[in-house]
């Protein structure tokens, strides 16, 4: 059903359809220099200052590929289990556009650096999924054109201004198979890519600098249908949020078209962030004849299996693997596991606490709780602060063994944050050791009960919630050191004795 007035389909109708989504994204690699020349790969410089004959495509200039960028692509591919073909090459993709200096882009067509692989991801609720990769290949970025209209947009502009600083920055293009079924899955896929690239150090994936840009092929079909529907390609999504909104809006649009008896047209659609809709970008048909051919300025890239093996040997745990270890191995909830995984330095630091203490859950609570609060308040990263993983592990052990109680632990942590050092030493110095001696606590309990006859009477009359007040009073009498569990146990014992 489509709402005649809004053109929106009902949730019920929506549920009869399934979306099929394939993502292609371009990610800027983290190198010192550009892909084919020695200009800085830097963001934010004044226009046309990071350029040379090569990236400005002056007559006679020639490209020489950046070895690091090639290695980064191989590393990225291997992290997803891609195959590294023994032979790869660079091709030219020919099309005219003012921000592309050579009017061809050096890219890879039929012999990319990596083939296949799987991106594993998880959704917010902990559901896991995977999406196959077609390939990851290496290419160069274009410059940037801004349009001389009032709002900087294409429409209404009488001329455009071009900055070539970004021209020639190395890009990896990741092409995914159409294995995704919702905008959430698409975003989870992108997040998994981004986390992995950050972890590998191949990209900072700074969205605000446009270092990850994605296109999505979206089609819909009735649930259970075997054939894919006609797809539209959505371009120009440069944040996870806009990817989610754009895909959702496109899915809704296509369902509305089909429900209205129409037909989805295969086309390119641009995402209009402000309007929240995709719109058709009709292009002349010949615009798609890219006339790929091997770039005669460059020579083939050979990668003997041993070379790929050598890179593979340097790979460490991926963020997905770490997430699984936290959730399945440590029993950490998905949300907290994600929090840890998303901060690589923190999660490495956490792993050392978990290993040293043998108490990953308790360690997680400290790390994401009080320690994160202290870090936020002081603006110092946990991993860069004075608290060593060993000190925190000690603190975890002290609390787990009931040597100190939680309020003492908080105090110890605060001291550790400022001074560093050993948790045990601070406990001793500050006299924070928990009193778990039955007789000593029992004496305090008796003292408190004597001092509060009315409360005792209330308890005995059935108002058992006053136990909290009495516990607090005992803790106070102990200057915070009484073992709370023991205190409560003894309080109950006495109160119920009559």
């Amino acid at each position: 059903m489509i709402d005649e007035r809004t053109g929106e389909v009902s949730a019920e109708t929506r549920a009869r359809y399934e979306a099929v989504i394939g993502i292609e994204c371009h990610v800027e690699l983290k190198t010192v220099s550009k892909m084919f020349c020695g200009c800085p790969n830097a963001f934010g410089s004044p226009p046309n200052t990071n350029v040379c004959p090569v990236c400005l495509a002056l007559p006679g200039a020639l490209p020489v590929p950046n070895a690091k960028a090639i290695e980064q692509i191989v590393r990225a591919g291997l992290a997803f289990g891609s195959t590294i073909p023994e032979h790869a090459k660079f091709d030219r993709k020919n099309y005219f556009y003012p921000d592309m200096p050579k009017n061809y882009q050096i890219s890879q067509y039929d012999m990319p650096l990596t083939v296949g692989g799987i991106v594993r991801y998880w959704l917010e609720d902990g559901t896991r999924g995977e999406c196959r990769l077609t390939r990851i290949h290496l290419e160069e970025d274009t410059g940037k054109s801004t349009h001389a209209s009032a709002d900087g947009r294409l429409a209404g502009a009488t001329s455009s201004l071009v900055d070539f600083n970004r021209a020639g920055v190395p890009l990896m293009e990741c092409v995914g198979e159409p294995d995704l079924r919702s905008a959430e899955e698409a975003v989870a896929f992108l997040e998994s890519l981004a986390r992995t690239f950050r972890e590998l150090g191949v990209s900072d994936v700074k969205m605000e600098e446009g270092s990850l840009r994605c296109d999505a092929n979206v089609s819909v079909r009735l649930r259970g249908a075997a054939e894919y529907g006609t797809k539209a390609e959505i371009k120009n999504m440069n944040s996870f949020r806009s990817a989610r909104r754009a895909i959702e809006s496109e899915i809704a649009r296509q369902i509305a078209v089909l429900e209205g008896g129409g037909r989805v047209i295969q086309e390119t659609r641009g995402w209009d962030e402000a309007a929240g809709v995709t719109h058709s970008q009709r292009s002349k048909e010949e615009a798609h004849d890219y006339r790929y051919f091997p770039d005669p300025d460059l020579v083939p890239l050979d990668s003997p299996p041993a070379a790929a093996d050598a890179v593979r040997a340097t790979l460490i745990e991926t963020p997905y693997e770490r997430y699984i270890r936290y959730v399945d191995g440590f029993g950490i909830a998905s949300k907290q596991a994600t929090q840890l995984v998303d901060d690589a330095a923190l999660s490495q630091w956490f792993d050392r606490v978990a290993a040293a203490s043998g108490q990953p859950l308790a360690a997680m609570h400290f790390v994401l709780g009080d320690l994160s609060r202290l870090a936020n308040e002081t603006g110092i990263a946990i991993s860069g602060g004075k608290v060593t993983p060993e000190a925190l592990a000690e603190l975890v052990e002290l609390t787990q063994n009931n040597a100190i109680n939680s309020s003492a632990a908080k105090k110890v942590l605060e001291v550790l944050w400022i001074e560093g050092g050993s948790a045990k030493a601070i406990v001793e110095r500050e006299g924070l050791a928990q009193v778990s001696d039955r007789a000593a606590v029992a004496a305090l309990v008796a003292e408190v009960l004597d001092a509060n006859p009315k409360v005792v009477a209330d308890y005995r009359a059935g108002k058992t919630n006053v136990l909290g007040f009495l516990t607090g009073a005992v803790m106070k009498a102990s200057r915070g050191k009484a073992n709370p569990a023991l205190t409560q146990e003894l309080l109950r014992e006495k109160l119920e004795q009559k």
Binding site: P53, L56, A57, L58, P59, G60, A61, L62, P63, V64, P65, R92, N94, F96, P98, P101, K102, N103, Y104, S160, V162, F164, D289, R291, Y292, F293, P296, D297, L298, V299
Partner: protein, 493 residues
Amino acid sequence: MDPLHDSAVAIATAVNRGEMSAADVAETVIPHVARIDAQVDAYLQLTPELMRAQARRVDARIAAGERLPLAGVPVAIKDNMCLDGTRTTAGSKILGNFVAPYTATAVQRLLDAGALPIGKTNLDEFAMGSSGENSAFKKTRNPYDLERVPGGSSAGSAASVGAFAATLSLGSDTGGSIREPAAFCNVVGFKPTYGRVSRYGLIAFASSLDQIGPFARSVEDAALAYDAIAGKDPLDATSIDRAAEPTAANLPRDLRGVRVGIVKEFDTAGLGTSIDTCYRNAYDELAALGAELVEVSLPTAKYGLATYYLIAPAECSSNLARFDGVRYGLRVDGADVGEMYERTRAAGFGPEVKRRILIGTYALSSGYYDAYYLKAQKARTRIAEDFARAFELCDVIASPAASSPAFGFNAKSDPVAMYLMDYYTIPVSLAGLPSLSVPCGAVVPEDGTRAMPMGLQLASPLFTERALLGYAHAYEQATRHADKLRPVTEGAR
């Protein structure tokens, strides 16, 4: 010492010894070149101030005790090579006002070796042509008959050396653009193995074929220039990383024990009696020097032209896409950027360039790639394999450098007829082989009265420049064909 007529070897020796300063060479050469060039039009631009400044640097280096292989040698540079601060046009209107902000590696190496830049020479637009007539700016004349073409595309580089308006020059050769004009202008023209000389700063025509090389009036001078410019360049990924042995020293004097391949399919009888006689005579001269003549077969060489006229235009269609009026060069405005592109390129490129862009675009386009471009790349493999097989039987292959001596202006209106001039040079280019043209006699053309120079092409296996230059030197020293002709230009000895 006569810097106008002496060899590069002689000039460099004299300047290195302090017998003459580079500044004196420059002052002698500058007015002389201007006089000769008024007749030949070899240069698009003379650079006397650069030449003087460079002469001062050279003299200072010599005074400081350095010895420079090309000390004070006047050189001309084909105008498709960038020279910092000079207009670099590639013979095209589209680059009519382009001032290069950097210097091509090969040019820089010449300068580092002490050479003095006389100026930038005329060429067929973007090096596409075999007569020099495709320049957007002027017609360079053949110094041996001013009514005839100098050959192309390195028209001015060949003509300047042939007219004694340069001691050495740099040209570029994609399908014969050094060897054919060298033959037409009575000079030595040498195309090294593809990748031996950096292409950085050479305005690309067809990247997998383009190669820079020298023109000289002797093989020894060509070797001297080659030694200065050859070698790996980190700025050109296709430049070859292997030691280039010096070639100019100890060139041999005879051809004893050398097997010279004569290609069965390159029968010269069809070129007319006088041309046929000229080449038969040249082969006899090789034999007389002790060479063993062996017949070799290149059965696929006849497909060279077809192969070349797909591969080179395909690459050029992409290489020339950058001339769009955005960053440099001509712009003809339009209402939108697409219109600006189309008008700029329509106004900026000449007809031969447009034809090749169209053919190349077509050969790469969707649906035709396999039938044209890919097919041609496979044909290229077979042609290269044929040469490899031939070189099992011989050390060097001898053939004509061009199908005829220099022809008159406007003699070839049909593009394909013009392309046939490069019948013998193109297969060699497709195989990437080092080859050269060395003067081998003269022929009176059917439509003329003056004897015009002829060139013998020698081609050898990849990376065998040293041997190749040796064979050519032995032949040249024994025959001295170049000395038998004199340019018609004023100032020639």
